[in-house]
Amino acid sequence: MNSFLSQKWLKIPVFLACLVPLGLLILAAFHDGAGQLIHTDKTFSNIFPSLTLGANPVQFIQHATGDWTLRFLIITLAITPFRKLLHLPALIRFRRMTGLFAFFYVCLHFTTYLWPDQDFDVHAMIKDFAKRPFITMGYTGFLLMIPLAVTSTRGWIRRLGGKRWQWLHRAIYISAIAGVIHYAWLVKSDERKPIQYAVMVGALLLYRVIAWIWPRRGAARASGSAASSPQHPVTAESE
């Protein structure tokens, strides 16, 4: 499995899979457009009768891109635990890609706010930012992702140094938490979906706390016996 995951070509299908949500949105938009242009056209509707953006297309795209931002953040956060628990170190090859896709979808999400919702009215957006806690949360999550996207290149890892780079990139924890709160504060009464996201993000962050404590406890117990070499937090094993 690990050698399969190390295949060079595998990045291409993974990349394409990450584009499926966007592809479906585009297809649905075309489908809706075609359905209205040619009333009697049966081909489109016969293949995907329900591929539609619905009655409120802007909101549909806004919600879909918001959902996929959270999902890609969760996938990105899940890579380290899966890598460790399933002994699949090669999974790390996909982490930058999924992280950048989270950024890609949050940019689309932000655009739906910037353009159809706010019509590029910067004044109104600043007011909104200050006045609406759920918007403030959304901005927090989004803005924190910008430096991470910028410094995602190999060159930046070198320039910052592994340790410092890693510290910076822990900002994804805050982005994920802010994203979930952003969602929960928007919902009117049915909190089930935000709770699902919260549980997943919570579990993935809990893993990190445990992974951080565990080797230390082990090391403390074993102190005196073996002189173990200092472990890098990324490579620290945990059960």
Binding site: L24, A28, A55, P116
Partner: protein, 320 residues
């Protein structure tokens, strides 16, 4: 612009009634895409049929009301597939998917409380209390979207006058139908059924306040509040209670569902007011379904000339 709507369909152009979607065949067709996708939620929503069409009966409309707006009607398909009816699920497309088997016949509405002649009206009686009018009203949801709907019905005052409310009647309390078996999704929705709403007596007796039994020339589809609902065009949509089973004239301001859930967010009056924001979002603008950019929201949803006097001297910031 892809998402911009092209000139709207006439209601008669909407999918013919006999074209129902074959869910199984469709799911098989869509299988390969679903398989390619790993996280299901939104994809599933994409691929699950929601374009169902409902059997409806034509209604004899006696007159077109002068209360009607000349604004463009929202397409029927949008008004029937973008609903807030939490008893049938909290997603906008849930009611269209889940209300299909909702049993609305036989139906009766009990009218009781502070009135001289309390009685129960059968649905047949309600349909004949007054000549049916078509009234094209703007409908503004508290969530900042809006639609324009040709409702069919008559002023609520017609029904109220038949039971003769007493001088003690200061408010009207309304109650929706609720049945656990038929509405299993109500439990997880966050609201506490049965849905209840209320109006002050003068609001209820205002000629714009309407009992609706149909829309777009036909009886109401289940997801839009069949078989009988209220339509109060200057208030946020949630005030216009659906599927009414009880009307009660009362002396005190009655409890209302959303107000009980979050009283700082949903007041008893809930008049459309662009100056008073919902605590979590602005009410200054709204998205008319079918439009790309948002448009400014108008005080009392544009019905200020008729209704502003009801609130003369009231602080609408406090009485939101």
């Amino acid at each position: 612009m892809l998402i911009k709507r092209l000139p709207e369909l006439k209601y008669s152009d909407v999918t013919p009634k006999d074209v129902y979607i074959n869910r199984r065949k469709f799911l098989a067709d869509a299988g390969f895409i679903a398989g390619a996708a790993f996280a299901g939620g939104s994809l599933w929503k994409f691929l699950s049929p929601s374009q169902r069409v409902f059997a409806a009966t034509k209604l004899d409309v006696a007159s077109k009301s002068p209360f009607s707006t000349t604004e463009k009607e929202t397409p029927y398909n949008d008004v029937t597939h973008y609903n807030n009816y939490y008893e049938f699920g909290t997603d906008k497309t849930d009611p269209a998917n889940n209300a299909g088997n909702f049993k609305t016949s036989p139906w009766s509405v009990s009218v009781e409380g502070e009135c001289a002649k309390p009685r129960t009206f059968t649905m047949d009686e309600i349909l004949k209390l007054a000549p049916l009018e078509e009234r094209i009203y703007r409908h503004r949801c508290v969530e900042a979207w809006s639609i324009v709907v040709p409702w069919i019905g008559y002023s609520f005052s017609v029904l109220a006058n038949l039971v003769q409310p007493t001088a003690n009647a200061k408010f009207v309390a309304f109650q929706s139908f609720y049945d656990k078996q038929q509405m299993p999704l109500a439990r997880g929705s966050g609201i506490n059924p049965p849905y209840v709403e209320g109006l002050r007596m003068d609001e209820a007796m205002h000629p714009l306040t309407m009992i609706s039994v149909g829309m777009y020339g036909e009886t109401l589809p289940n997801q839009d509040g069949a078989p009988v609902r209220m339509t109060i065009p200057w208030k946020y949509g949630f005030k216009s209670i659906k599927s009414i089973v009880k009307v009660k004239f009362v002396t005190k301001m009655p409890p209302t569902t959303w107000n009980m859930l979050a009283s700082d967010e949903y007041g008893f009056y809930s008049n459309v007011n662009p100056q008073v924001d919902h605590p979590r979002w602005s009410q200054a603008k709204e998205r008319r379904l079918g439009e790309f950019l948002m448009r400014p929201t108008v005080m009392f949803n544009g019905y200020g000339d008729q209704v502003a006097k009801l609130y003369a001297g009231m602080d609408l910031r406090k009485n939101y």
